[in-house]
């Protein structure tokens, strides 16, 4: 295990480190997209990545479950460990990793199938359910965790694409938790949603913190302040500052962080 982050934190309860990244470099062809990022993400905590567009926060998020593998020209260097295991080790199957590190995307992307099949797909391919009753239970539990059960329980076999944007996004979250991940990555999950749907999803994120380590990329600093306990500020591919959310927003150490949160760069 790694030591606690050297940046001193005040009121935060010391929890276990879930993800530890060291000297992470990401290249897109010749572009150096992520430069030397060190970060330690705690379990049962919401960690927010903020920063201006193109700063690399989404790129870094996608290195955590190796979604970047699908991009041919993308190259990752450095050391990223989940529970002490190097996820870029040759022995690691990215598919297995992604079952452990779930992801929710910017645009709600339910499969063009029924609500039930959307949620049941993950448990099915991972063999989590022994029989139909089992699967029904998993689906119900996941939809409840996704805070959407009451809205869809009467139409589980209606197409998932027929839901509203906010419902679709909560369905996608339910789909992600149905596979029992340990970490949940969220790439701007509310950017396509209206304020009401956004607040529902934010409440949900706070709920999910009890069981998961949640990493959320967001453009909205208010959102970061509302939902996260830890915040990382990225700028031009560098991790400028990482620490307790309260401290980042009230008393940032780096002048760039201060400029960004006060709206002078971005």
């Amino acid at each position: 295990m790694y030591d606690a982050p050297h940046t001193t934190e005040r009121d935060v309860t010391q929890t276990e480190i879930k993800i530890a990244a060291k000297n992470v470099q990401v290249y897109y062809g010749d572009t150096h997209a992520i430069k030397d990022v060190d970060v330690q993400i705690e379990d049962k905590t919401v960690t927010a990545f903020i920063g201006p567009s193109g700063c690399g926060k989404s790129t870094f998020l996608r290195t955590l479950n190796r979604m970047n593998d699908t991009i041919d020209i993308c190259r990752v260097e450095g050391d990223i460990r989940i529970d002490g295991e190097d996820i870029y080790d040759k022995r690691v199957d990215p598919v297995q990793l992604r079952a452990k590190v779930g992801m929710v995307f910017q645009k709600p992307n339910p499969f063009p199938k029924s609500i039930y099949d959307n949620v049941a797909y993950g448990p099915r391919i991972h063999g989590l359910a022994k029989n139909k009753t089992d699967l029904d239970e998993i689906v119900e539990r996941a939809l409840k965790r996704g805070a959407i059960w009451n809205e869809v329980k009467d139409r589980l076999h209606a197409p998932g694409t027929g839901l509203s944007g906010g419902q679709q996004q909560r369905l996608c979250i339910a789909r992600a938790v149905a596979t029992e991940p340990e970490v949940l990555l969220m790439d701007e999950p509310c950017s396509a949603l209206d304020p009401i749907a956004t607040s529902q999803v934010e409440e949900l994120i706070d709920e999910l913190r009890k069981d998961y380590s949640v990493v959320i990329v967001t453009h909205s600093m208010q959102q970061a302040a509302r939902v996260s306990q830890k915040t990382a500020f990225f700028h031009l591919g560098n991790l400028v500052e990482y620490g307790e959310t309260g401290k980042i927003f009230t008393n940032p150490e780096d002048p760039r962080t201060e400029s960004y949160i006060t709206g002078r760069i971005g």
């Binding site: 479950n65 979604m67 699908t70 041919d72 598919v95 297995q96 992604r98 079952a99 452990k100 779930g102 992801m103 929710v104 995307f105 645009k107 992307n109 339910p110 499969f111 063009p112 797909y121 993950g122 391919i125 991972h126 694409t161 996608c172 789909r175 992600a176 149905a178 596979t179």
Partner: protein
């Protein structure tokens, strides 16, 4: 055509928007002009389509009708079955030459009984009225049913091609001087027989289901066997081109790394789609017939050649269909831990299905209408053959294909074949139209929104 708006010197402020200024007028005029060009282009297209359809229908519909003579024929036992035991083996010894006099007699008797005024009084002089195929048809019927010998049976015989042409207006009395096959005396008989209802045009199923016939008996020729040839070729194309094409596209689109080698493959597939089909024909000749030793003129070889020709079409349309599936669906599947293959087969492929099916059917339709490669593997020409007995026979025995049959008819000397060529085109177009309708139905059925 659409120039970016240029900043004008005159200030725009303060002008009424009720009056269109010169710049706006010019812009609107150019838009109107462009729409007019488009309309004109569509108009021209529709006009030519109508001319084409009109020409095909007016020339080809008559091929579905044929002139028949209904006549009672006395099957003389003394001539057909000398031993009198009705043994099919004995009956087979009598060739069509034994039947011809019977039919000619029957016609003469009918002509005389009907009181038709003609200087002809010998049975053999009726030969010009009837198809050369009539004796063979009668013989087949007797061999199939030996008990008919000694009876008088009602027999519907094909009239000779010239008689048919006379009824359809193809053969004119003015041209008789140059025609050795029929003369005015016979046409007089035809006129009177028609008046008395002894001879009439009727729908001819033999044209749709029958086999090709020799140069001298166009009235007997049909496209049915060539249709079977096309059918067996399409089976080969479907069984090979669809799985190979879809597998290749999925690999190239979803799995293959992006490098110079895959780029090269991609460029070559696009180029293959534009290679003249006759090149595939000569490739088939040298590889499948000369090297692999497969039989000439066989639908199997034709199908293999057409497979090669169809593959690029299927690959290109399948790749386009796969590309059109939003990447968010792949991300979603990968994000919950599906493997690459699971994401492709569970999510991407079903969404791409309408496009794949459409591409496949269009590729098949293209293959169905292809003639040039068949020239080189010997599927064009007078291939007189009976319907194949089974699947193996269907793939391996010599056959023709619909477009090849049409080409073959179009190049024969007798103008009666000209009509049949147009008729064949109608049948081919019906097939192509139905395939396109199937493509549309499948696309509708599989189409889903996401």
């Amino acid at each position: 055509m659409t120039d970016a708006s240029m900043p004008t010197d005159t200030p725009r402020h303060g002008k009424s928007i009720m009056v269109a200024d010169a710049h706006t007028k010019k812009r609107n005029a150019s838009e109107k002009r462009f729409q007019a060009y488009g309309l004109a282009a569509i108009g021209a297209g529709v006009f030519f389509l109508l001319v084409l359809l009109g020409a095909i229908l007016s020339n080809g519909l008559s091929a579905f009708q044929q002139t028949f003579i209904e006549v009672p024929v006395y099957l003389d036992a003394a001539k057909l079955d000398k031993n009198g035991n009705r043994d099919p083996e004995d009956l087979k010894k009598v060739s069509t030459f034994g039947y011809n006099p019977l039919i000619q007699n029957a016609i003469l008797e009918q002509v005389q009984a009907a009181g038709i005024d003609t200087p002809l009084d010998k049975a053999s002089e009726m030969k010009a009225l009837i198809s050369a195929s009539a004796a063979a048809q009668l013989r087949d019927r007797v061999i199939a049913n030996p008990d008919l010998v000694g009876e008088t049976v009602d027999f519907r015989i094909l009239a000779a091609s010239r008689v048919d042409g006379y009824l359809k207006g193809r053969v004119q009395r003015e041209d008789l001087a140059r025609d050795k096959n029929i003369d005015a005396v016979h046409l007089d008989i035809v006129d009177q027989m028609r008046e008395r209802g002894l001879l009439a045009k009727a729908f001819n199923w033999e044209f749709v289901f029958g086999a090709d016939a020799s140069e001298s008996r166009p009235e007997q020729a049909g496209i049915g066997i060539a249709m079977l040839g096309s059918f067996f070729m399409m089976l080969v194309v479907l069984a090979l081109a669809l799985p190979i094409g879809v597998a290749a596209s999925i690999y190239l689109e979803e799995f293959a790394p992006q490098n110079w080698f895959t780029d090269l493959i991609e460029v070559n597939i696009s180029n293959l789609a534009a290679v003249p089909s006759i090149v595939f024909g000569i490739l088939g000749l040298s590889v499948f017939i000369q090297f692999a030793g497969l039989p000439q003129s066989a639908p199997l070889v034709g199908g293999l050649v057409l497979t090669l020709m169809t593959l690029p079409t299927i690959i290109i349309s399948t790749r386009a269909a796969l590309k059109a599936v939003p990447p968010s669906i792949r991300d979603a599947a990968l994000g919950i831990g599906a493997s690459k293959m699971q994401s492709v087969f569970h999510h991407v492929l079903p969404l791409a299905m309408p496009g794949i099916l459409t591409g496949t059917i269009i590729g098949l339709a293209q293959a169905l209408g292809e003639t040039a490669p068949l020239l080189l593997i010997g599927m064009v020409g007078y291939i007189a053959t009976n319907a194949p007995d089974g699947l193996v026979e269907g793939f391996m025995s010599p056959n023709s294909a619909m477009p090849a049959q049409i080409y073959e008819w179009a190049k024969r000397a007798d103008p009666a074949y000209y009509e049949r060529a147009w008729g064949g085109i109608i049948i081919l177009l019906v097939f192509l139209l139905s395939m396109n309708i199937i493509a549309i139905i499948l696309r509708r059925r599989f189409e889903r929104r996401w």
